[in-house]
Amino acid sequence: MTDSDLTDLLDRATRDIPDPDWAERAWAAAARRRRRQWMGTAGVAAGVAVALGVTVVQLGGPTASVPAASATRSPLPSISGGPYAGQVALRQLLVTADGTEVWQGPTMSALGALQRSDILPADLVPPTSGPDLTAVVREAAGAASALRVVAVVPVGSGGQTGSPFTVWLALRSGSASTVTWARVPGRFPAPNQVLGANPVGFRAIDPTGTKVAIAGQRAVSVVDVRTGAVRALAVPNDPNLTGYQLTDAGYADDGTLVAWGADNAFVAEPRDTALRRVSSGTRPGRFALSDEQGQPKVLAYAADHTAQTVTTLNTRFGFFGGTAEVGQWLVRGGFPDPSELPQGMFALNGIMAAATDGSRVRILVVPEENNDQLLKGAFVAYGRVPGSPDEVLIGYRTSSRGTIATWNLTTNTLGFVGYGAPAAIRLSTS
């Protein structure tokens, strides 16, 4: 090797390295990573997917077929002239395919310019500091009306699973139009690093409005706003559950607390002092929108808590958060499978409403306001608006602000409610 220089040595030593095709593999991995980023953070999500071969329809004008590849940013819909004061009618149907309608709504900034509905306080953003729950309960002890939870706002997790967070409660006394903020003492450890875990889900408030459930790693913390007490309902002491971690908890309509994680579920009645193991498929709702690898379907929960597939929806959509039941509709936020987007179609945030029998599917999307290739919005569904059978309270969260709105599924109109990004909202005080 006396005649070799270093360059030749380095070249010869690596000359037989194979040349596999990395491009497709790396691109696919990047796409998966982008999707996980959308799924894994509460404030990060994206749009909607529909089957290819779509038809674009401009309402108020002739129907025109547009090749999917030519889909581009469309003019934003007008936000004036809705059927009800303070509401905006969705006028722009982006695509429809096999019974699925995709409607483009206004930006949240534009929605915020509407006259707001007063079903909630205008601002559900907790203060940076304030009294803890015990002090608020003590002060309210002499009041004629008991406290009820209006909203639950976890703070400090940064949208990431696995980080401890504090919990703020928006409390209302009687028919008061304003809320009092109270911080639940202590910090709560997020269940684990499971993507999509919701330690404070949209069903975190019990039907009486007096309790809040927060899933921890091995127990559910139940906050009682009548006393200010926080008690823990632990996972059963079972060798088969060693190391088991909860991810979600919520209340069923009958007040039963349901907690679950991977492959296990637990319940607790109001007077129970510990969780009780039940069928692994048990969930607090009667129906759910679910997806397997982006293929959505409607699930119905039988009396024995087993989930039955009612129908598989003929579109592509990935979900996160929980499924709100609103009349004959199921509503859940989500994001598209980018591979299903028409070529050139820009990514959007989405929320799906599907009839419980799957006969109708309506998807609402809104344009991104931050055009830096990072998709920062996420829709959530909170539940039915009292007194309006087909109107759902929805939220749109970004890293900087949350907007609360209503979506009337009969009139297909949006209304503006206020700002904030609660994990759970309870409108009724019954």
């Binding site: 390295i17 790396a26 691109w27 070529q343």
Partner: protein
């Protein structure tokens, strides 16, 4: 992000992937780690392709790859430092024995073992400097930019590295001035 790779991305990666993998392997000395580093660099490139394609993708991906390689190899060295005395040259064994186009397999194996032992005497950054300058044929300035260090650091690291390599490979007569 579209599901199908951008045609320009495919063209770029296809043209550069083998050279990048060879460089990563020389810097970190481990086949699996080299493949992981390249994959990660190409994933990062794909995530930013819309912007990077208009600039200089080669410089960008090279910067990511070399810096990740240095930091990964630095961590790996810390993890195995107690066993260095008994380790075979990491990854330069028979992982790839597809046959060189000149010389025998035995010669190639011997070259790799000698080279691995020599490179193992260098710090991660010295390895990167050597590979950038003598394998990738980068100038002092380009090497400094890619590694995020000053040109003076590149020169001094090159000098030290060559000294160590000469000691480990006495038959190597190259001097820094040759470059």
């Amino acid at each position: 992000m579209r599901a199908t790779p951008d045609a320009d991305y495919v063209a770029y990666v296809s043209a550069r992937q083998r050279q990048l993998l060879r460089a990563a392997w020389l810097v970190c000395g481990d086949r699996q780690l080299a493949e992981d580093l390249l994959q990660e660099a190409l994933v990062k490139l794909a995530l930013r392709w819309g912007r990077v394609r208009l600039e200089n993708p080669d410089a960008w991906v090279r910067t990511v790859l070399y810096r990740d390689a240095v930091s990964s190899w630095r961590r790996r060295r810390r993890e195995v430092v107690a066993d260095l005395g008994t380790l075979e040259p990491a990854g330069f064994g028979s992982d790839w024995s597809g046959g060189a186009d000149d010389g025998s397999l035995e010669d190639l194996a011997a070259i790799r073992v000698d080279l691995a032992r020599a490179l193992d005497t260098l710090t991660p950054k010295q390895r990167a400097v050597v590979v950038l300058r003598y394998f990738d044929d980068r100038s002092v300035g380009e090497t400094a930019d890619i590694l995020g260090v000053s040109e003076g650091t590149v020169k001094s690291q090159t000098s030290v590295a060559l000294g160590n390599l000469r000691a480990a490979l006495p038959s190597l007569v190259m001097t820094e001035d040759d470059r």
